[in-house]
Symmetry: C2
Subunit: 202 residues, 2 copies
């Protein structure tokens, strides 16, 4: 088993933190996204989408998509549960994870991709998307701020993969000019708690 990783992108970090929280170690190979190694044939044979991370299994099967890789490790190593112990717990966690991914990470990354020089020539940038995406992200984070006033973690009273997705999103946003409004005090409190976990070093 080998994990193809990149330390500059937010998605591979979701898997690294997930593994750290599980106490698992997997052989890792860094893929240089800046020089486009992920867009070359050798890597595209592993993931035609050219994206990271990818988990290569011992039989050569390549599993792409951060969330799918996390689900696979949860399947193999259920404890500690980062998705859930019962069908209902899993459903609730997955719902909150998806909300963080689609409603917060999605628009934040869209704002970044449509505005950043890094993506010039990599995607069709539509600069008119930047501000609406920033507005959506801000609106969703105001909603999350309300939720975090009533509970400790994103999915309720237990740490989960939903926290990992939001944490990687907000940390990445802070590094690329998409920082959140510091008046969202519940988000700030939660974010500090996430940073204090040993897994944050992953």
């Amino acid at each position: 088993m080998k994990l193809y990783d990149s330390t500059i992108a937010p998605n591979p970090r979701r898997v690294r933190i997930f593994l750290a929280e599980k106490g698992l170690t997997v052989p890792v190979e860094q893929v240089d996204m800046r020089s486009g190694v992920n867009r070359q044939p050798a890597f595209l044979a592993k993931n035609p989408m050219g994206m990271l991370p990818v988990l290569e299994l011992d039989d050569g099967t390549c599993i792409a998509e951060s969330l799918v890789i996390c689900e696979y490790f949860e399947d193999l190593h259920p404890d500690p549960a980062l998705i859930g112990r019962t069908p209902q717990e899993r459903a609730e966690t997955r719902m909150w994870e998806r909300r963080m991914e689609l409603e917060v990470m999605g628009p934040l990354l869209s704002a970044f991709r449509h505005g950043s020089p890094f993506f010039k020539g990599r995607i069709t940038q539509v600069t008119d998307m930047v501000e609406p995406c920033r507005a959506t992200t801000a609106k969703r984070l105001a909603w999350v701020n309300g939720l975090l006033g009533e509970r400790e973690f994103v999915a309720g009273n237990r740490y989960s993969i939903a926290d990992i997705t939001l944490f990687c999103t907000l940390d990445f946003g802070g590094k690329v000019g998409e920082a959140y409004d510091p008046s969202l005090t519940n988000v700030v409190r939660w974010h500090e708690a996430m940073k204090a976990r040993p897994s944050a070093a992953a």
Copy 2:
């Protein structure tokens, strides 16, 4: 248990087809999206995102997100497997499902949302997004066409939730002016096979 449903949107159909393939029946309540019932407080209490479908459990817990609802039913009723029987099978299916969702459904729905009069006033429409999204969808479907030249179903040699996501996407696209290029003969062959399944009536 009750499923809040809408027959005009593509996502609720993913769950209806999944249930039909499982041979399951769940009480259903239609929510009128055209008149915006899904944006009113009673529904927002069930899903703050205002989206359908939503599965309300007997204890009042509301599970949103089509994919999450399908995973829940797979957890409760593993046969026939539409996600997978083993960790690796589940990982492969989930990866292909996500590719269909993020790489085909995502840009196709973005093209529709940014261009359609239905979404005027509902989202910030950026008309410059329509053509790049259409181009991305076409490029991804050309790739899928190649895949379907070598295998029967999206995720390989077994019907799965990945087929359901692509089928609902392409059927919806055909209804809203985002039909695919009929020269993609493998997609056409696969699409006809999907339409011939009894679950297509769901």
